[in-house]
Symmetry: C2
Subunit: 334 residues, 2 copies
Amino acid sequence: MKESYKNLVFENPISVLETYSIVGTKEGKGNLGKKFNFVLEDDRYDESTFEKAECKMLSTAVKQVIKKSNHTEKQVDLFVGGDLLNQIISASFTARDFEIPFLGLYNACATFAESMIISSMAISGNFIDNAVCGVVSHFSTAERQYRYPLELGCVRPPQSQWTVTGAGAVFLSKYTNGYPSITSATIGKVVDYGVTDVNNMGAAMAPSCASTLVRHFKATNTNPSDYDMIVTGDLGALGSKILKKLVNDDGYSIYSNHYDCGEMIYNVNDEEFQGGSGAGCSAVVFSSYVYPMLREKKINKILLLSTGALLSTVSSGQGESIPGITHAVCLENL
Amino acid sequence: MKESYKNLVFENPISVLETYSIVGTKEGKGNLGKKFNFVLEDDRYDESTFEKAECKMLSTAVKQVIKKSNHTEKQVDLFVGGDLLNQIISASFTARDFEIPFLGLYNACATFAESMIISSMAISGNFIDNAVCGVVSHFSTAERQYRYPLELGCVRPPQSQWTVTGAGAVFLSKYTNGYPSITSATIGKVVDYGVTDVNNMGAAMAPSCASTLVRHFKATNTNPSDYDMIVTGDLGALGSKILKKLVNDDGYSIYSNHYDCGEMIYNVNDEEFQGGSGAGCSAVVFSSYVYPMLREKKINKILLLSTGALLSTVSSGQGESIPGITHAVCLENL
């Protein structure tokens, strides 16, 4: 079957000048705790509600990444972002804090890669000079919106993941010598294997991740070994196993260089079960751990795949299954 | 104050090959009733829930616009869309029906223009050849999500609008001689005048619309008289008055050529109060009424401004005001 869709190849590469990450207390105690730019002492971040705290986290990340990139707010051409809350209020209210044109997105936990792809097209196409991409999630706002009131103290099933409290932002710019650059990307299709368990996001997202990954390899004529790291967003331990099996069935082995942000962020134990999830998961792990290694040339080429599960309490309540979507972004030192 | 942001000028213009609109029974009885491609006999569209009906409407619009454009699904490079429901389930589940890469958006009722801007950058920048943009809203799903259960039969205040039941889709392609083309656009900033009345969206959105409109005039060095129509999304009667006053204060008179999709779609009477609103409002009015006039060269240059109000039941419940965002797209016959 002929595949009409072209992989996005950026003949004018886009440079990532800086990143910034801010996380909650639990994330600060995890494997990457020392790598984040800012760890909150209290997940309420001096605000009256968790929702306001989530918004303030993203606002801080955006402000700080602009500063780290030696730019001022007025020099920024575009802010692209999203979050998991209804009507993406965290990103929308963050955008209100800045005099920067705003594009709001929603592809669940795939929003981080989506924001980089849209910004990359805008910059590489010479429409703008730079853009800030930022996404956020917060355990306490997501849990009560998607599942149960926090006060209920529900017991979590073993296949569940833990929504990351964290905001990550990256500053993209026209190609600048010496910085890691975005050279290609693949926009995901919605893939549905019929999973209906709202606690089993890893299984719901893995097929879409395999689909995008294989399409990216084929379109760019690359193999897993061409990448120092193949980094997925928040498949967790179970979802990662499914992904590796699925792409192996398609003839690609990623057993040796696959890493999942959801698996990396916590010291996975009984409480977190499968690891982290949430729109902020791939954003903060990329910003704090993967990007610095690229910048220091410890690694030179990676593929980032943010993975999203498309559902709402209404769709699940009406018996719908949970389709997934995954977008891929290739970053390398040129 | 120096404005860093560049207006988007498409040196490679993007052509709009076709449009498709599908609406509910009430919209079918309005001013534009005979112009829509398909009017439902029942707003439930043979589905078990209004949410499934909303999804089916968008799916139909996407399928039909691809067919009208003499393309097959496999030839479509990208689907960009959104809706008003939590986690944009209507657009996400529509995307599941197609083997087309998908970018999900949320800028409330400004999503239609947002989808055209992102697709335009992707096409004009030579990353893809074509894209389908589609958005949808449904009175019965929006009303119960944002306001009250339908069964409650709440009395509506006089400043309220009526959410349009409708889906609109457009097929964008590389420049094709003889078709109306997108030549420039302006991405909106989030503007907040502190309106907190969730029934008064027109007043909440008008300042952002004025901001984007004036920025577009300045950046493109054009005047209101350069456009045959300046078409806003869903300000309604009251919001339109506020917009005209605000831009007049900035030195631009749009009294003679401003049209609001929300005002045009219904025979405004006691029941609809200020007119229509919803993500589908500007999409179906553009698709069924404005675009055909461009195509037949009855008019030759228009500015479309989709207007969005950024709020959720949580943000309003926590006392937040309602910021607005407006994106502008210029279409003309070249």
